[in-house]
Symmetry: D4
Subunit: 249 residues, 8 copies
């Protein structure tokens, strides 16, 4: 429930089109709705400018559908992250407008076109082809939150000239998300080139002593560049969300 929805209810009451009884009924669910297995935070769109996002992993299909049904009454956009194709197929069959992005393992349900409200462009860079699914999760999230988003994929440090060939795009972005697995060196290099905030996303791409992304994570946390902050391994969603927050400041 964002401010627009709220205002329209109040206007409707003001105009006598909605009885106070009905409006009350509607608004009392506004803050937190307890449906047993979940406390849905309807107030979040008002407080944080974007509704709760459903973390699909470990939730049953029924739980996901149940939460979406409640949210669907109030929200214009619903995201479900970390949902595998099997569970997603059942879920999207229940909601028109819902689409599944299988690289990002994400359900995206938008009732209208989302207007661009972010100030500048968010640029998402991936070190390798294998990092693209995480980059896509960031892309979809930032898009859903009303931003212009651009992408450059597979420009890791083993051939640094690949990166430099996109220098203009890099220098004109207002926020950058850099996604990398293995040694996770790319965010340091990118951050050294710009005077903009860089969100570094380690991925679990690699093997052996990459330890499921731990190496990339540690590498990014210890960057010798200072305009970097880091999110969890494979957390494309968090990076996209944080970048959107920054792009509104």
């Amino acid at each position: 429930m964002n401010e627009t929805t709220l205002k329209s209810i109040l206007n409707s009451v003001a105009r006598g089109e909605t009885s106070i009884e009905n409006a009350l009924q509607t608004l009392k669910h506004l803050s937190v709705e307890d449906i047993g297995y979940a406390h849905i935070d309807h107030h979040r769109s008002l407080r944080k400018g974007f509704p709760e996002v459903i973390f699909g992993q470990n939730k049953s299909v029924d739980q996901i559908i149940g939460i979406m049904e409640r949210m669907n009454q109030w929200e214009k956009i619903i995201l479900v992250t970390r949902i595998d194709p099997d569970k997603a197929a059942t879920v999207i069959s229940r909601f028109k407008d819902a689409e599944y992005h299988d690289d990002a393992q994400m359900i995206y349900l938008a009732k209208d076109t989302i207007p661009v409200t972010g100030k500048g462009t968010i640029l998402i860079i991936s070190a390798g082809t294998s990092d693209i699914p995480v980059a896509k999760e960031a892309f979809l999230t930032a898009k859903a939150m009303g931003n212009d988003v651009e992408t450059v994929f597979d420009v890791g440090v083993a051939g640094i000239h690949r990166l430099f060939s996109h220098k203009k795009m890099i220098e004109s972005a207002s926020v950058l998300i850099v996604v990398a697995g293995m040694e996770g060196a790319l965010p340091s290099v990118v951050a050294g080139l710009v005077d903009r905030p860089v969100i570094a996303v380690p991925t679990s791409v690699g093997y052996g002593s990459s330890f499921g992304g731990l190496t990339a994570l540690l590498s990014m946390l210890n960057s010798c560049s200072s305009n970097i902050a880091v999110v969890n391994i494979d957390n494309g969603f968090g990076a996209g969300y944080m970048a959107a927050m920054i792009n509104r400041v």
Copy 2:
């Protein structure tokens, strides 16, 4: 060397006050000056809007002084981080305007008052009294980069009402830095209250299984709030720098 200094050299040449010979001599150091033990990146103020910051740990007093002397010719502000009181005493005796902040273990050399150029207010919150030194490092860095900065200390989650008593200040900040050791829970709670980017800084405050800040670090990386990104343990400097970058977007 920031844009102002660069322009004044070029103007001086244009006006014939400086010979081309002299200007060349000056500018050829502009990019990178190799002094044997260091490559000073004079270009950084132009590229990133703020000069290189000297990481004091592991450097000798002579090395620090040597680097500062070269930077001092071009820059209006010089910061040295992670320098202990003994080394700092020798260093500041050599530079007028240099002052040492012993809680933050930082040297601060500003030739003029730094004008505020950041858009909103940066708020720095610490969970405990013991986290203040790291918070101070963030404070001094963000100040040096031209920001309005406010602080609230010792409002950790063991008594959450202490935090809520500062709700107004929290909601009006444009970027928040939250510093916490031990279980590192505070950034999650703060981020849940605002629609602004939160930079989380884990500290090494704690004992036993806090493992020198690792617990707080992991906790922050796994936050269930999404408007959070994390910097290295005790990296107040990086948090202040990142917040300043965001406050300019």
Copy 3:
């Protein structure tokens, strides 16, 4: 074998209804029964007020059934933890009264209704919907041990007002179990609100640097609240057991 069963045997002997021969035969198994692959501790109900609980993981169906058959002769309640649905189906088909709770992955065999003997109410709080299975394991265990148990699910710190809407229930509990994955911050916040013992249960919910629950575990061990003690990752059973012990003190 609890005290009631023991007394009824002795009474039966006293009344001449059971020969000494038969009683001896019965009682000689009382302490420890060695069935080759297991030493069944029949004495435990006397010593600890609750019979041995069967840890299902790594045990074969035959082993579980074998142990249950021996216990079933003496005990009024039998619990099997960490048993997957396939193995459970075979097991419960052999024991009437046995029921399987598939969210908690637990078999529950109670011959009678269990009387409430615990003094106050045990409240179980989960941070997320995904933590419910662990919370359910705690719930069933505490119930089986004779306690009034209540639950509040999905009230994590990303929207702290969800927690506060249950303040009354929280303040009236005599023991609290708080279950959380990811950053594991909820127990610290809850413990800060009450003057009661809090059992913190980390769960393996999360990904990347949650490291299978390690992050939540470390976070809880380093809580800045002091009325907290912690059990193993996903150990809902242990938390329910410990809470029951406390509720009897």
Copy 4:
């Protein structure tokens, strides 16, 4: 500020002995007092039945004294933990009634004899002589919170008969704290003997792969006994606090 203090202020107002002006002045500090480097939680004694305890590590002598001075106006008991002898000497010279326990590294300031309000006896057992300092921290904390506390030291599993010689004391305790370093096996054995809650405290006693207490911590978290919950390494204070909470249930 506990309930007694609060009542006496209100009575004084009721009797006209204190002006409303003065009472207001007094009470407005009641909730949280912000002294710059600390937010003192005066409300805690009301909310949790025991005042805030000062974590001495990483705090300066001046900060500790400053906090104690404010607390001293309202509280009957003040504890400072993890304070080394040098800092403690300065601090206790400023407060009559303050005494320093150098094995537990704790300052103890009690204005009156503390009445016993806990229901049963808390028994503290240590595995070795080297674990005594941690056990003492638990002892002093539980004492300060109004409990009968007994101790048995150096009865580790290498000579298990030493433990059994205290069987009576063990079986009559209402809550047990078991402190052990190295392999941390003692709490499992003790918990197997009783039907009471056991708080396990790992210590950093050991060397090599004891990893500063990590081994004992992990051992205790994985106990095959179920009536156990664990606190941080060397956290005698937390164990004493938790035991006191349990002893009141």
Copy 5:
């Protein structure tokens, strides 16, 4: 190839029953036979009193059969460890006398009854039912190496009286193998009771912070009893082998 086989070849030559040509052909394989994917160490039975044991994990069925065929010409006993049922079925179909023990995941091929040559009795104790597979691997290995071996299973420290009921057997063993998962406390307790060497075997039984047996391993390495040495997690084979070596000293 043990000493008996070697002597019989030499005798055969001495008696003129075998030509020098043939004997040479035979003996030249004696030391090391290179079959491309393996260097078979035929000399090992002479040097170490027991032939090479085949580590089945990661080897293909063809490789295992190939190695066994060569060994089968010279050795009276062949063991294959860590071989799953599918691979084992194919392998044992090729060698008469070969039998598969599916709890221990081990192939055992003995041409004759193995005479007992070890001096005393090796006693194998397991903490739980779930630890039996590892205990069985130790059992089969020690048996194959010519020892009297006895077993006691499921006598962990949660009910320590179960252990004490076998005191006589424990005190009369010459070497003890103690197998335990979870907190791994049993070896410390057993070693405290005897003046004999104890081989401690940690198992991967457990969950959460047992970290696949790491906790039990660390626990055993830090035992406060001194007559303990430790082998790798789940390494029943190594424990049986080491015990056999000791039983011959």
Copy 6:
């Protein structure tokens, strides 16, 4: 695209056989070709003497084929590493000359016989039979890069005389690759015997506290021999590549 290809294009232009238009078209892809999901670094063969190698893990079959198609226009040799048999079957059906080595999980596409350009012999030694797949990956890589390569398998330190029987081959190699899992001791021993560089490759062969190769990795990094450097766990490819680089120095 290596120097030969480049020269032939230029010659063709010089001879008027290719129009400048066409040559331009050809050469503009030379540096980096962006195909959306990948930036193909055609320049690499010129810069590094060997084309980019495709890391198959985490890439889809379509992505691998797409990249190979572009490379196939310019390169004489293409390698794909870490590709499982299913994906490989589809890929090699699309490229004649492509062959799949299923022990090394590698696709090898060479248009011509590769001439030997390396100076000396590269010797690859494996500690066990189970380490052969990693050794084979190194073998194929070094072969593809134009080297004489020899192998000795299964000569680990448990029977050190197996190694010594190959002393001549060991002493005559110019570079050695030593592959070992478990305790990873073999590279130290080999390096002690020669005055040549040794590339140590830890493998994930082992169980329990081998932690997926971490133990072997750490062991090799701490070698008391000095002519050793280490690559990632199971990184046969990197070892072969590095050895080839050394063999050209």
Copy 7:
């Protein structure tokens, strides 16, 4: 108190030289003596053939002296391990016959020459000069327990021929202790040469990724030789004790 002492008391009573009163007084301390900070296990010499050994680390000088004074009444040999030179100086000044070995950091108090009761020779091998202190601790312990002990120092795998020059001594030992830091490879090589039990002792010698001996420890636990068992890092005492136990079997 060993059997000899016990018999002499009983004989003295039998001969009427000691009153029953006095003998009782003497014997009642025999089992466990509680001196507040320690439970002295006087029974241990009877049960385990060697008295309790005092772990000096973390104990105060007064505690060590107090324990020694009680033990001194009954025991013929007292060992204190891990005691630094300062504390040791005070302690040995109080006991004639006590001597301090500063390489092993051990106090050794033997009233008589210790007769050799072990069956064969214990051989202690160190990989480097830096490992000697740990080897010496093993040496003194095994000596004190009545064994012939020999030593070979600094024969690590970087020059394996140094080891082979002692082949005879190695092959004639009945138990071997092998002490190594860094990569910890030596025990595997030694164990491959003999058919005797090898106790492997990792040391903290090394730097960087030796992680205080963790690398050597893991290496030894994963040995491809099977006649190896491992003790804690730097635990020379435990190795000597275990070897002595084995040498008596």
Copy 8:
């Protein structure tokens, strides 16, 4: 003892200038000299082309001097690594020609100028000023082994243009050593630019989650560039040694 020394002894015997008796006396120490606390490997210069290097850490001054005295009779160059200034002062006072390099913490004793025998130039690059001590250790080692060595310091990835300004030197080196702490990204970038082997040296420079160099180590092991192999944290000596070996291939 290198080949030259050996030949001169043999020539001297041939010419009758040395008696066979004396020559024998001399040569019998040649292989390994056992001086109790060390086995000096005089054979190493013959076998490996460079004498044993003394690891100073954990050795006493007397041990170092003792070893040097024996080596000094035969060798033309002696290195001692990881020796602190205090110990070094005593040592160098005993050997003329010995000099101490206090940045590298190394003693260097060369009787003559060392001739350059390496084929190309070894280039040592450091990421930061703080990494110079480790780089210097590599420098001195490679120099001592007869190589042309050049250095470029402080060209880390935060300002990547600093590196590119040395492109010519980088491309003309035959072997490169790249030294970096913190995120350890520099070796990946450098290796991407050249077709030469790169030895990566992680340093312990950094704080917090750099974990004493572990982050840099892991980062380098997971490099997406393939011409990289890694040595232990801070192991400048090993890097210099390995580079020298490569430069001779």
